[in-house]
Amino acid sequence: MTFRLSGYLVLLAWLVPLAMFPAAPARGEEPYLEFVQGLRDQQYYDYALIYLDQIGARSNVPAEIKQVIPYQKAMILLDGSKRARTPEKQTEQLVQALGFLEQFVKNSPNHASAADANSDRAQILLGMGQVEILQSRSPANQGAKREFQGKARDLIAKARQVFQTAFNQHEAAYKKFPVSIDEQKDRQLFASRAQSEVNMITAMLNLAMCTYHEAQTHDTGSTDFKQLLSKAADEFEKMHQRYRSQVGGLYARAWQGKCFEEQNDLQKAMGIYNELLDHPGNEGPLARLKAQTLYFKLICLNSKDRNDNQLAADLADEWLKKHQSESRTETGIGIQWEQAKAFEVLGDKAARESKADAERAWRQARTIATQIVRFPGEFKDASQSMIQRLQVKLGGKEQTPKDFDTAFGLGGQAFRSAIELRKVIDGVKKSRDSAEELAKFEQDWKNEINDAARNFELALALATKRDSAKNISEARLWYAYVNYWQNKNYEAAVLAQYVARTADKDNGSVALDAAFMAMAAFVKAYNENKAPIDQKAEDIRMIIRACNMITDRWPASDKANDARMTLGSIYSGAKKPAEAAEWFGKVPESDPRYAEAQASAGQAYMNAYSNAGRLTGADKPSVEQLNEWLKLAQQHLRTGIAKLTASLPTEGVAPPELVNAKFLLATIIITQGQETEAIKLLLDDPHSVIKAITVADEAARPEKGVTSRKFASGVYKVLLRAYIGTNNLDKGRETMKTLEAITASGGSDGLADVTQLYVDLGKMLKEELDRLKNNGEIERFDKLMTAFETFLNEMVSRKEGHSFGSLSWIGETYFALGETVSSDAAKSTAFYDKAGTAFGDVLTKAAADQNFATPEQLLGVKVRQVRVLRFKKEFEPAETLMGEVLKARPNDIKVQFAACEVYQDWGASGQADSAKKLLAAFRGNRSLGVWGWGEIAAKLRKSKAFKTDPTYVETYLDAIFNGTVARQRYARDLPVKERQKELERCLTELTTTASVMREMSDERYAKFNAIYREVLQEAGKPVADLPRSLNVPVVAPEEEAPDEKKPVAAVVEKKGNQKAAEPKPEPNAMVTIVVLVGICVFGVGGVGWVMFRPKPKLQLAASASKDEAGPVTFLGVGGGGDRPATGFDASPIATPKPRPASVPAATGAKPASRPGAAGAAPAPKSRPKPPAAPGGE
């Protein structure tokens, strides 16, 4: 029997916050408990215990941290015990946890968490009591039943006593709070009182649960049993009356229902369950409560008195469909068990009238029971019995085969039936016959698939050398198809790859079909993986390998072209545009997707060219290579455009793929000084790009496609750039107005977007200049620089008619030019001055005219003005201006970042008080409301969105990095001892972050590693790489002398891949660590992305919920630099769908269905060939 803490403990999860202790480290200190929490989150319980032992032995660890070490250990052991698989180990860990809890309560009786510790102690005791109850019910222990019941009662009594103490403590704490607290005025106090109330409710619920469990220590139906259940029901009722608006009160209500159900008062129980299930809200603790309540309800429905098995089966099915990932939880398995019971009874009922219906239901029951039996727990034995019972009911034909041929035959039969059923289902769907009929067929299909899976699995297990190798190969391939249909993509891929590798060459196209199935399965797995693209490198590698197998072994097949298209898409997504282009370019002219492939190849080459500007050292391609890419890009795009144009009538709107290809080509040729041709390409008929993107109503642009706002604005940006190049001021201004109109009509935040538009325009111009400079294309650089300057100067000289937008653009663009020539101090200062003047004009005009700009826009301008001042090293006015912005936007991360950047640059400038400024950078400046890097990081880490929004993580890592750099510089001017201390803190910060943030990108790691090595050197330590990922740092004892040759961060276990340090970051590592991936010339790649990618799930404007400590926002007043960094999200690759019927491939001159915009993966169109029907058909 497995020792299980009661299922009701799950409910406590809503009540017990993750970290109840000194949550945030004092600013600038080692984040001890954060690190422990990180290790717990990763389930590194053993390392967490080691770490706690280590910090316990250190004398410099604050007393309040040391005080909670026993409690932390207990929590870790409790977590660990839930994962323990042997009852002995589980009990051992729980007993250890109990010991630590007692130690904590004894040593710190007045600690704020003493009451929680008591609650935990009591829960352990109660859990142990439950084990005794289960033992007392085991048929094997009938002789010792009373003894087990007695032990259970004793343990529950002890638990009650401790719960009572906890309750008293929580109640006393709660009563100390004032009755009335204004949430707005005293947010902190309000939150503390709410937490205290939750603790009190928990304790009260626990006391009632003791009564319920005490009832279970008596025989069912006995007087004691009934009396105690009645008492428990009353206690739950009182709780519910008092706390009906709290989740705790609702849990009490559910358990009240359970008490009624166990007293056979099903009507009352059902009433309560229905009431709870109808309760509004389906998230977090409420979702868990509802799952448990549903389980209770299913028990009622399946009871002999209710006998409503169909409803039970349907409700369970509905829940399981919605909560697949929870199907293995204790409640999930309980729900499945009730569903299996319901199906068995339904089969029994149907047996009198329809044998087919009966068998369908029994088979469903058996499938579910077969799932349940794989998991230890209270339903395992019952499921085993059910399976045996059902085997008998299903009769001889369901007997388990004993050899390969029989199992293969049965599997093939079920597989064939499934294929036929799928055809029937498709037919029924088309004819829109009754839903009931359809559901029956769907269920039959599932049953056949399950049977096929079971029999193929068995066949392969029974296969011997005497069996036909051909049949074994086919069994594996068909089993792969079954797995694919069951969404077991990796299993499908493993089987299919094996067949592809080992199938006899004479065995028809089995090997090629299998290889294609493997590719399809990997693509499906990739698409189903919801992780960010940078965490999908392995999925990508697997697809690449699968595709390569096809292109290597069957280069002339159609499937090889599918693989080439897939590879092209994959390499595009993996930021390897040169490889992508190569694969697209390999699709032969005979293939129907040739034009699409050519356009995609062109775009990929262009991306390769654009990205080259960011590469350094050996990775940086030569100028010849760059020119070659640009030439190839043009060549492929021109071919694609020509092919597409030739296939279309001259009238009518151009298809999106052609529009995109033309747009891309225009983007390339403007960088070569061919602005006039670019303008023609965009404007002229046939298939005018501008016409294709024009809409009647600007406000009604769709989210995706060539008429989307993003794409249209991208096209106009290119057009604007072309007009700047031809020095056509009038057309340029006209285009700007159109651009502004497109952007501003984008809903409520249109005005803010206009600000962003000009920021982006400035940035893009800078990128183009940077790229030319980095690529060594000096002539083009000079020419473009002159063109921009001339255009800007002329714009400025026309004093009249300037809008907020045009001045913003002027300011941003001058600023960008200043950054571009930063190596020339005089020139860059001149540009910054001009930028400052433009921003100053905005503020002046706004002061005179309230309608000139919104307050939000003005804040953005102020932040940009701060940046100008910072770049001009005029730090004092920058600080003053920043103070104004902070008053208006104290919780805006972008603004906080900008403030820290001012201090960090100030500190590094060598001006007076630089140490103080560096200190302010990482510790903040309270008087102005500047948090400092440390607090920014802490707030981000604690925000709810941290676990779901990669932007938060990236920004957090930036803050950690910048904070470490600031501290490192601050340390340099300190006396030896203090310096050493600060450097140690830097090291701890870096190792802790690298260990906990396991998904840190390679690029990011390289930066962290470089600074880590630098700090080690400055601390006089042996230089080593930063331990990464699974490596858990062991903190060196503080008494270790700085000149000792031991590394500060040793490694407990060398598992990870420790990469060599990348080139060090710029010594003056400013904050801008942003890579806007996918943006190439004038954001063309970005536009492509936006056009075809799914709607971003993670919004930047995510504000923390009110119960978070220190909510942070990314409201982004614009211009605060590039915060936060946005990664790029990949479009899913169209998954080839294996079907049991041939699907005619698209042929003819049909235009490609969608353009191959950067990162928008062109889909492999064809599908894996259907398997030959088993059984020789």
Binding site: A84, R85, Q93, R328, E491, V494, L495, S1029, N1057
Partner: protein
Amino acid sequence: MTRPFALLAFTVVVTAAHVSSLLAADTVTRKSDGKRFLGTITDMSRTEFKVKKQAGEPDVIQANDVTSIDWEGAPPELRLGVTDENGGKYELAFQRYEKSKKDAKNPNDALKTELDYLMARAAARIALTDPDKLATAITGLQAVQKAFPQYFRYYESVSLLGQLQIAKGDFAAARTSFDLLAKAPWNDYKLAAQIATGTILIAENKLDEAVKEFEAAAASAGDSPADQTRKYEAMLGQARALVIQAKHEEALKILETVTDKGPVEESALQAEAYVLQGDALQALGRMKEAALAYLHVDILFSRESTFHAAALFHLSKIWRLVQLKERGDEAEAKLVQNYPNSPWRKKLAAPAE
């Protein structure tokens, strides 16, 4: 002594005197060409035996070239036992052999010897997954070798004995066994002895020497299928040593060759290659690829129980790391259900253990 082994020892002694005259009508399938020989097995030695037909010269079969023998008069359980053993169900196979021995009606001495060897072999394979049974299995094998030293399965049993001795940590004894194995007249057996020496060196943590030993074995393999199999076994050994030395990339290259080009029918070889591949990938932080490597064992080579248990253990951990918790739960449940006594199942027990 546990019951099966006590029984085994007893039968060994009783039948020891009757091995010399082996006569029955049997069918032998030859490994090298799949050809079948019908007749009576005679002139048994540890290196070869003859199949005497009704007319003509008897066929000589090398002891290392036998796929299977269908013994005249053998009970049907025997065949089922062999299937079970090939399927990794060693306990069941042992029971079937034991039952065959009881059920056989008037078995000739050859069949009795065969059953004794098979029981000892099954017991040895059980012990390789259950360290508590090692000593008894060693005794059983030694007993059967002593009783029937001139039997075609002799060298095979010597190899198995060496493996048990390695598992027990008795490297000196294992070296003696493999020295004996090296005296077999076939190159693949000599290679097997050399590979085993490499394995012992690994166990003794002499990793560089082990790598050299494996390299030498792989280099001296001939072109025969048996030699080729040994070559891949040697490569596998080399990869094993490299993984221990944390030379994961090097190991992966070798393992890729083993999985791509190694004999597909050698399921133990393939299974171990995939487990090692998973280990190396895991160490490199390539978790999903590691999961895929282990999944090969779960799906394709689940009959290789030792490696299957290892693969399930790793899968139970890795699926969780790649955010597929329910799959981790499933792998764990499978491990608990299928291998309740495996060391891997015990390793599961608790994170803080």
